[in-house]
Amino acid sequence: MSATDFEALLREALTPVDPPADLVARLEVTLISLTELAQDELDAWELSAMRDPRNWVRPAAAAVVGVTAGTALVVLRVRGRHRTRKQQSSSLIDLAERTMHDVADEARRILPHR
């Protein structure tokens, strides 16, 4: 087998892998959580350029466009509990983890077929 043939096989073996839909939804929600943190919390996370928290949700929420309507509903319901999760969380990672658990629970409730 020539080197070119072997590399072609290698390319075929290492086909890019699409992320699962539930991971995409979880990540979108996590990004939304991050963009909803208050200014002082963000300063603590070294994001010095952040100035106007009211603008943060829009770009991250735009990323949700294209996800299915069911997923969008999950996102909306999870966002509704953001304040509670934030109060319960001790750090950004903790908040993200709580958010992910919430998404998983909501997804199971709303999207049982997935």
Partner: protein, 187 residues
Amino acid sequence: MPDDLPKTKSDLDARFTELYRAHLRDVYSYSYYRVGNHHDAEDLTEQTFLQAYRHFERALRESNGRPLRPWLIRIAHNLAANFYRDRSRKPESAIEDAGTISTPHTTESLVEGREELKSILDGVQQLPDDRREALIMRFALGMDNREIARALGRTDGATKVLLHRAVRQLEGIVSESAADTAVKEKP
């Protein structure tokens, strides 16, 4: 400060969203082939984007307009190393079926092709870490030598040599495995 840097938090988030959309599949593919299963690949992908978000502004400032994919993959690479160190794990011996081999085959070549591809994937897992990672970046993510060099913190020349040796070693592993199989199957 370069002109194209985001001036507001809103711009910064928009840029991060672009990066996320453009490279989610790259990060997931890298993670998947690095750890060998979907569950851990999901964890690694999430952690990579959390870290990336945290340091995004600085990365943009320091990149001088260069693509950020190598930076993103380097984060995943470092997290994967920590992942194994912290949990005393090693990559799984075989990669789960990615379920994405979609090229049409005849029935006969389908079986032959899959055996060959499986043998290659098994061989990839036997390579030393740096060689395995270089191959994943080149063949799963389609990164060029310069991008791989930036992701691995090496020179372009060293990366070229690394890739060449990785392919040759893998060829050797696959040939050896095929020879062993042929001996076992001989009546």
